[in-house]
Amino acid sequence: MNPLVQGLITIVIGVGGCVGYFYLSNLVVDHLIFPAKGKNAGRNINRANKVRPWLFLFPAIFALGLYLVYPVVGSFWRSLFNRAGTDFIGLGNYMALAASDEFRTAVLNNFLWVLFVPAGATAFGLLAAQLTDKMRWGNVAKSLIFMPMAISFVGASLIWKFVYANNADIGLINAVREALGASGPIDVLQIPFWNNFFLMVILIWIQTGFAMVILSAALRGIPEETVEAAVIDGANPFQIFFKIKVPQMMGTIVVVWTTITILVLKVFDIVYTMTGGNFGTQILPSYMMAYMFRDDGRATAVAFVIMLIVLPVMIWNIRQARRELR
């Protein structure tokens, strides 16, 4: 069938379906369930009006329930079953997680990620926003810093694989080491504990652009007079930045920080691509990926744990963002 015709039919069915739903459902409520006549006419009208808002809300509630609530409940339910999904094992998967060394490593590493990536990205973003503000080439610099945002996590990881390559002819780090006279290349991704930080650098590199864009808008929103008043009060540039500008942007900084925190708890691509979770670099999302399709019970249990960790951050984030809008 002609795609144009298909589109038209979709529109007609969609819009017609909506109109039809609202018309018919109101008709049913007003005439069949609570008819506005007979001895209970007044009471029926009141009842129909109490029901009516729910008629309008129903499609949205239904769609959200189907696509958001059902997966959460379904995942939780699935996490209570064994690998094949045949036997109910209660909290068995969660017990197994608690007993697993790898899971504990993942939680610890994830804790480090949550600590350092949002802090790093926000700090660098703030720095970039302040340094490029009102500068002649500021917009060019900003575009460059923002560019990594346009690269997929896997793509960015591949770029950094070159930077970290265990070969002085390819890897930037080893090239610098060789230039400084160090003997032989090293693989930074295999240095225990510190390799986690080399992976975090990638996400910081990507997210700095995001933080910078939001924060430089906030920086522009600071009334110039407050800065001038501080100049007259004798504040030096550092005092102006930390005591006048940053406090006035605090709301935005919190939103940026929590947004990146939520992202950190979801990104598995970087670890998955760079080390596959080896050498002690596992984090929760990549740990979950490691079990996906092999042991869905275990994987959904990890997913549920991640959701529980993200939830409070998310609630705080949304509250803060709403306060900013006011």
Binding site: A230, V231, I232, A235, P247, Q248, M250
Partner: protein, 366 residues
């Protein structure tokens, strides 16, 4: 002792000159108002004194010391901004204490100065509040309090009342006046476009236009003896009526012919060489009265009458192109709309300007 000396102060942005050489002396304890239309450079001049704008040329001395290259905080100035410029994340107390904390004053000294400024401005109940919990008038008082805490030699006010509503503006104006009286050694420079503020607050007014000084003088002096057409029309509301004229005979008294053919003799001496030249004849709306009989300055049809109770304004159109002549008379008068009315004014209230807009001085002016 001299408070402030400006010598040939200039400001350019690239090739655009905005201030063209200002020379001005301000005495210690004086209240000086910079007034002028939008874009005349009054705020720029104030910001140059504050040190927020670089001085392109000339020297600025505060208390005898050249301060061109001294940072704002070391110039002994404090500034009150139009938008208050309070730090929104700090309480009233912290707003006033910020400068002293930067200067590493002792806690006791900070507390003493904040509390005494708060007492002067009746801000004591609000010290723990954030600026957003204050009204506009209270915020501006906090901004003034912050300036007082700096204990400056010179206070700079940049249109501090513009963001307030009419009633509050009058009240705050009176407060600023009292503040000046209570600190007789503090020099104050105040920028406004509102001539009522200028007239009521100033010891001396500096009228600026297009980056240069038109006239400096006491408010009443500017009103009675404007140096030129610009000042004449800028000071006073409604503005002075200007009628194009031609000098018929010059001498100890001058006779001019106004547009429309009426001949008027004024007590202003002119050089015989001026005879036959173009001139502008000026008379303030409030000096005009309705003439009885044949002794009048001009005659015209009242196009519109505004009866405000305390005064009545007549708008006479047709005499000067596109510019109604306004007569402002105290008390209630009948509308007289559509009637031809003759107007006159006391001889001593008339003004005469040459073709270049400069005032022909009265002999009594010296």
């Amino acid at each position: 002792m001299t408070g402030l000396t400006l010598t040939d102060i200039r400001k350019s942005y690239g090739s655009v000159d905005v201030i063209h050489g200002i020379d001005l002396e301000i005495q210690e304890g004086e209240f000086v108002v910079f007034v002028g239309p939008s874009g005349c450079g009054k705020s720029t001049l104030l910001r140059m004194i504050a040190g927020l704008e670089d001085i392109t040329g000339g020297t600025l001395k505060i208390d005898g010391e050249t301060v061109n290259d001294i940072p704002p905080s070391k110039r002994g100035i404090a500034m009150v901004f139009q938008s208050y410029a309070l730090y929104p994340h700090m309480t009233v107390y912290d707003n006033m204490a910020f400068g002293m904390r930067i200067a590493k004053e002792s806690k006791e000294e900070i507390d003493r100065r904040v509390r005494s400024a708060a007492a002067i401005l009746q801000l004591e109940p609000y010290l723990d509040r954030l600026p957003k919990a204050l009204s506009g008038g209270q915020r501006q008082r906090v901004a003034i309090g912050r300036a007082i805490c700096r204990d400056p030699k010179v206070f700079l006010f940049d249109e501090p009342l513009s963001n307030l509503d009419a009633a509050l503006r009058v009240a705050t104006r009176i407060e600023i006046n009292k503040l000046h009286e209570s600190m007789p050694n503090s020099t104050m420079i105040y920028v406004t476009h509102d001539q009522v503020e200028a007239m009521t607050l100033a010891d001396r007014i500096v009228v600026l236009s297009a980056g240069h000084i038109e006239q400096v003088g006491a408010p009443i002096e500017l009103y009675n003896r404007p140096a030129n057409l610009f000042v004449a029309q800028f000071i006073g509301s409604p503005a002075m009526n200007i009628i194009p004229a031609k000098i018929e005979s010059a001498g100890a008294q001058t006779t001019v012919t106004l547009t429309g053919g009426k001949s008027v003799t004024v007590d202003i001496p002119t050089d015989p060489a001026e005879s036959g030249k173009e001139a502008s004849f000026g008379v303030r709306p409030e000096d005009l009265t309705v003439a009885e009989g044949d002794d009048f300055i001009f005659e015209g049809e009242v196009a519109l009458a505004e009866q405000l109770g305390e005064v009545t304004l007549y708008y006479i159109e047709g005499l000067v192109k596109d510019q109604p002549i306004i007569a402002k008379m105290p008390g209630n008068h009948p509308s007289r709309r559509g009637e031809r009315v003759r107007f006159t004014a006391g001889r001593e209230t008339l003004h005469l300007f040459d073709a270049a807009g400069q005032t022909y001085r009265r002999s009594s002016d010296g």
